[in-house]
């Protein structure tokens, strides 16, 4: 379990990093928190000759908030974002997801950008990005691209990033109005990648009906799944036991998860529905609390 020999580069600026990537082409790879990449190196599943560590580029570690945008630098760690008030307010669903990512030690190193660039459909951040319609900003030798989440995740561990591009930030539009979010998962152990995970972020209208709803699922498909079918059932209505049940069934109907050592496909499909109804209920409760506490 020793990686193939590589050279480590530690650029201080983004432009240096991009220049290094351009220079080494397919032989170069970006290193963020290393929590996914280092195991891949040790298993020799990734064999770059040059590793370009983004750890010294200060500009990538900021969380910024403008009235219309929450901007999370790619090198912001899970732990840093988990504690951020700006994230809690600007992306409640994301804030709710962090405690489910691995353990504290891994969250202290793993980054939001690394998680999204890695493109694992079992990861919380990829699902959250899809649900919140995040915009991924990529910078490369050909300039800057803004890639919407729905175009970003192409297949299992495959994203729209080119090999010479650096993901620099993730932009999210904050919710306007009383909002609640919830994230729940079933993992075999605390901190494992979930067998199934579900998140919901809900904004309520004055009359208590659902004005905006985003539901996402992890672990059930090759790319992070947004449960549009469940959202369609719920939007515009106040929730009821029947409607969450219908939303759960609608979710189950469209899913085609796979089986592995840890759980069967049938189990994942069924539990996905259960988790959808649970997170929607909790998110609505939290949004209602947000309404009453604002009043």
């Amino acid at each position: 379990m020793k990686p193939v020999d590589f050279e480590l580069h530690r650029p201080e600026t983004l432009s240096e990093a991009i220049a290094l990537l351009a220079e080494h082409g397919e032989d170069g790879k970006v290193l963020a928190g290393g929590q996914s990449l280092v195991p891949l190196l040790n298993f020799r599943l990734a064999r770059p000759e040059h590793l370009i560590d983004l750890g010294r580029i200060a500009s990538l570690t900021a969380i910024r908030r403008t009235p219309q945008r929450l901007i999370i630098g790619a090198m912001v760690t899970h732990a840093q974002a988990e504690r951020s008030v700006a994230v809690a307010q600007g992306a409640p669903l994301m804030a709710r997801a962090f405690p489910h990512i691995a353990h504290q030690a891994i969250r202290a190193r793993g980054t939001v950008g690394g998680s999204i660039a890695h493109g694992d459909p079992a990861a919380e951040m990829t699902a959250v990005a899809v649900a919140l319609e995040a915009i991924m900003v990529a910078v490369g030798p050909r300039g800057t691209r803004e890639i919407p989440a729905r175009d970003f995740f192409i297949a299992n561990l495959v994203t729209a990033l080119d090999h010479d591009e650096v993901l620099t930030e993730v932009r999210i539009v904050p919710p306007a109005g009383p909002t609640g979010a919830a994230f729940e998962e079933v993992a075999r152990r605390q901190g494992d990648f979930a067998l199934v995970g579900a998140g919901a972020q809900v904004r309520l209208a004055q009359d208590g009906t659902i004005a905006d709803i985003r539901i996402c699922l992890t672990g059930v498909s090759a790319t992070p799944h947004r449960a549009l079918e469940a959202e369609a059932v719920l939007i515009g209505h106040a929730i009821s036991p029947e409607s969450t049940q219908t939303a759960a069934d609608a979710t189950r109907d469209v899913l085609n998860p796979s089986s592995d050592l840890h759980a069967t496909a049938d189990y994942r499909r069924d539990v996905a529905g259960t988790l959808v109804s649970r997170v929607v209920k909790t998110a609505v409760q939290r949004a209602t609390f947000d309404t009453t506490s604002a009043a």
């Binding site: 379990m1 020793k2 990686p3 193939v4 020999d5 195991p39 298993f43 020799r44 079933v186 075999r188 152990r189 605390q190 901190g191 494992d192 990648f193 067998l195 592995d260 050592l261 840890h262 759980a263 069967t264 049938d266 189990y267 069924d270 539990v271 259960t274 988790l275």
Partner: protein, 813 residues
């Protein structure tokens, strides 16, 4: 995480012990807690070369050709060794049953028999270069038919793992003890339960490692290894075809976890051979994946059928246990694990007759080895599942059914039908203690409350034995042509010229705190502060006979050796003291470092004077006595020395510890996730030597049992590929999964040991899998679902059991 309910009880006559059973620091902790353990990976003699391994990608394949040219061209690579070359110069590794056609070698010869098996070794300047080199070795394989399922492997037309052996069945033994026909006739009914104990192991934090260095001028092969292995030096010497006095195994290396699995014979032979051939120190430290799929350290992989016969009022009359064990590709020592449970075949229950049918088969899986309990925990699980099933059949309370069948305290020593005598026990007393600490009425209410809230809840109970004091007799049981019956331990005690006491042992330890144990026992025997007793480890050439810390035996057998050495030392001091006091040896007694007149204790001679005479004053020594204060004692295992009788009865281990687990599980009915809400253990290992060590063993073993019950499995897919190659998929329970464990000690001393102590190395693990499965099944059956009889129990298994209920059954929940 843990809560103390009451201090650990000490032996009945507390005044007898000065240091034993008293709270005291565990002396090993300091170096481990500060990160100053000294493990084999920390040792790199100058000039060391490293091994990288080429492993088989196929579960079964013929090796057509191996091309090492490219690998040898890589700068830094110094040699590549293939199985054919190694086989020419070495003997096959030892098998413990009579299967001459089953040849186990460090590197596969002609064919590979599991995915991950070592095929070639690359030696290079660094481990990274050795791995680079291993990638360049090109092996041409011809895939062969393979078998992964033990029941399929047992069939006549199954693909053969070792074709020249003619069958996959490695050993098959059938035993009948007692009047089975009469006892069956007396029964009102029988219950049959098929249980599946899937493959798991004690997965150590430290993988296996070895450093070997051949000194050609002194003709000594020095080995530092992460071992817990009886006869390691002899087996290395045997395989390498060198005299046993040319192998020096160093035992002063810390071993980072084992519980049976740190055998490493093939690793030792490979490194030893290369060290001799290349004339440089050779280091092999397994990486995690190699350890998991190629280390040959998996544990039992068993299918049981237990049939329990019982009367209408719940008295057990006969037990039949059929077991099929999947040994993987090379049986090695693992079939012997089918023998140990014979010594506790009826558990803590008074069952007058028993039948036992044990079969070991090979499959194309990684090899199996000894694991904590040597087959006892799986057997306990199978027996307890049958006991719970009887309780369900009869509608009887599970604790009361057990209590009714317990061997009673006044029946010891108690001979079970298989011929083994249980030394002592107070099973009802320990159960009472468990009920007390669990506050059973409150626990039942909590269970009902959870159910009323719409979740599933269940209580599990297990009452299990831990046989301790491992002996050699299982070799004779599984292969009657083997008549080995000796399994000693030994110790030297030295009082040096300065009067300091040193105890010398020749074993390595894997976390059992032997240094604390030895110091405490020597302190107790000699009446001196254990903190003043140094404990050191001799190597295998300068040391003494030892069979290593297996089978929960060190407190028992090494304890006996310590007692023997201390007694000899004391009588020597008495002889010296008597002469100095002008008395005869029988007129004096040793007490706390002095020798005094029995009649008038004020007439005495102290430690320093005794030491001075022994080391420096020949003119005051009793004539003919050797100078110095140096004694060595080799002890047999208590109650050993007999072979299996023609009727199949046999005395296995001498001592029997006992534990009762009571656990409350809370289960989410939609997801099948199990939360162990409450965990209680009442435990009896006789006289406790060090309370923290005992508690650590109980907690650790329980954590291991939780892993077995709910998380851990070495799984393979239908293509014969291992699915668990890292801790991503082999799920060890963490602090999140192990609940607060509330424990209490009970003390029923053993009559066969020096201070009443029994074994504790397998505690917790003996009963936890059975108790947790019992809790899950209590929850399932309470809502009309069928119980699950396969470990580990995954959330999706529970979900499936709940969904398989008929609507009618669901209504009854």
């Amino acid at each position: 995480m843990t809560k103390k309910v009451e201090p650990v009880a000490v032996a009945k006559d507390k005044t007898l012990h000065r240091y034993l059973s008293k709270p005291a620091r565990v002396r090993e902790d300091r170096r481990f807690v500060t990160g100053n353990g000294r493990f084999v990976a920390d040792l790199t003699p100058s000039g060391t070369m490293h091994i990288g391994l080429v492993t088989s990608p196929y579960p079964h394949a013929r090796i057509v050709a191996i091309n090492v040219e490219q690998a040898l061209k890589l700068p830094g690579v110094v040699a590549v060794l293939t199985g054919a070359e190694l086989a020419k110069a070495t003997e096959p590794l030892r098998q413990y049953i009579d299967v001459p056609e089953v040849q186990w070698r460090p590197l596969a010869v002609e064919s590979t028999r599991y995915a991950g098996e070592w095929v070639a070794a690359v030696v290079a300047d660094s481990r990274a270069l050795a791995e680079d080199g291993a990638e360049l070795v090109v092996v041409d394989y011809e895939p062969l038919p393979f078998v992964m399922d033990p029941e399929r492997a047992a069939q006549d037309d199954a693909p053969l793992v070792h074709p020249s052996h003619g069958t996959n069945v490695m050993v098959k033994r059938e035993f009948v003890w007692g009047d089975v026909a009469a006892n069956r006739a007396r029964a009102h009914a029988t219950t049959k339960v098929r249980t599946r104990w899937n493959r798991n192991s004690t997965v150590p934090l430290e993988t296996f490692g070895v450093v070997a260095d051949w000194d050609q001028h002194r003709s000594v092969l020095d080995i530092w290894a992460s071992i817990q292995m009886p006869q390691f030096p002899e087996q290395i010497a045997g395989a390498l075809r060198i005299p046993t006095n040319q192998v020096r195994v160093h035992f002063d290396v810390d071993v980072g976890g084992s519980y049976g699995v740190k055998r490493g014979i093939k690793h030792g032979v490979l490194a030893g051979f290369l060290a001799r051939q290349l004339g440089v120190p050779i280091k092999l430290i397994e990486d995690r994946s190699e350890n998991m799929h190629g280390g040959d350290f998996h544990g039992p992989d068993r299918i049981f059928e237990v049939e329990l016969a019982y009367t209408a009022d719940g008295e057990f009359t006969n037990i039949r246990i059929d077991v099929l064990d999947d040994e993987g590709a090379y049986p090695g020592r693992s079939p012997l694990q089918l023998a140990k449970p014979i010594g506790a075949i009826v558990g803590p229950y008074r069952i007058p007759s028993a039948e036992y049918n044990a079969i070991a088969v090979t499959t194309n899986k990684t090899g199996q080895v000894a694991v904590r309990g040597f087959g006892q925990s799986p057997t306990n699980y199978a027996i307890e599942a049958a006991v719970d099933a009887v309780a369900r059949e009869l509608g009887m309370d599970r604790m009361e059914l057990r209590r009714k069948n317990f061997i009673q305290p006044d029946e010891f020593p108690y001979k079970i039908p298989s011929g083994t005598e249980y030394d002592s026990g107070d099973y009802p007393g320990v159960l009472d203690k468990a009920i007390e600490i669990a506050n059973l009425p409150e626990l039942l209410r909590e269970c009902e409350t959870i159910r009323a809230e719409g979740r599933l809840a269940g209580i599990g109970v297990a009452t299990c034995l831990e046989p301790g004091g491992g002996n050699a007799i299982f070799e004779n049981i599984m292969d009657p042509s083997t008549d080995k019956s000796t399994f000693p331990e030994s110790c030297r005690i030295r009082v040096d010229g300065g009067g300091a006491v040193t105890a010398i042992v020749s074993i390595s330890s894997a976390g059992q705190a032997h240094e604390t144990m030895v110091a405490t026992l020597v302190g107790e025997e000699l009446g001196i502060d254990p903190d003043r007793v140094a404990v050191v480890r001799a190597d295998s050439l300068s040391g003494f006979p030892s069979q290593s810390p297996v089978g929960s035996r060190m407190a028992i057998v090494l304890g006996r050796a310590l007692h023997g050495a201390a007694s000899e030392l004391k009588s020597k001091m008495c002889a010296i003291g008597a002469r100095a006091l002008d008395l005869t040896p029988d007129e004096v007694a040793y007490c706390d470092g002095s020798v005094a007149s029995v009649k008038d204790p004020s007439v005495s001679i102290g430690w320093d004077d005794l030491v001075g005479i022994a080391h420096r004053k020949q003119h005051l020594m009793p004539p003919g006595m050797q100078p110095g204060l140096e004694v060595m004692h080799v002890a047999h295992t208590p109650k050993s020395g007999t072979l299996t009788a023609p009727d199949g009865t046999v005395q296995l281990y001498p001592c029997f510890s006992f534990e009762v687990h009571v656990v409350l599980a809370d289960i989410d009915p939609s997801t099948g996730k199990v939360d162990l809400k409450r965990y209680f253990i009442a435990h009896d290992c006789g006289t406790v030597i060090n309370p923290d060590v005992v508690r650590g063993m109980v907690y650790g073993g329980t954590a291991h049992g939780i892993g077995v019950a709910l998380y851990e499995q070495f799984a393979f897919n239908d293509d014969g590929q291992p699915l668990t190659q890292s801790f991503m998929d082999y799920l060890l329970p963490s602090a999140h999964e192990v609940p607060v464990i509330v424990d209490a000690e009970h003390c029923t001393p053993s009559p066969y040991t020096t201070h009443g102590q029994k074994g504790v190395g397998e505690a917790g693990y003996m009963g936890a899998p059975a108790a947790i499965a019992g809790a899950v099944n209590d929850a399932l059956t309470a809502c009309g679902a069928e119980p699950i009889h396969s470990l580990p129990i995954k959330p999706s298994d529970i979900w499936r059991a709940l969904n398989a209920r008929t609507p009618n059954q669901e209504g009854s929940s």
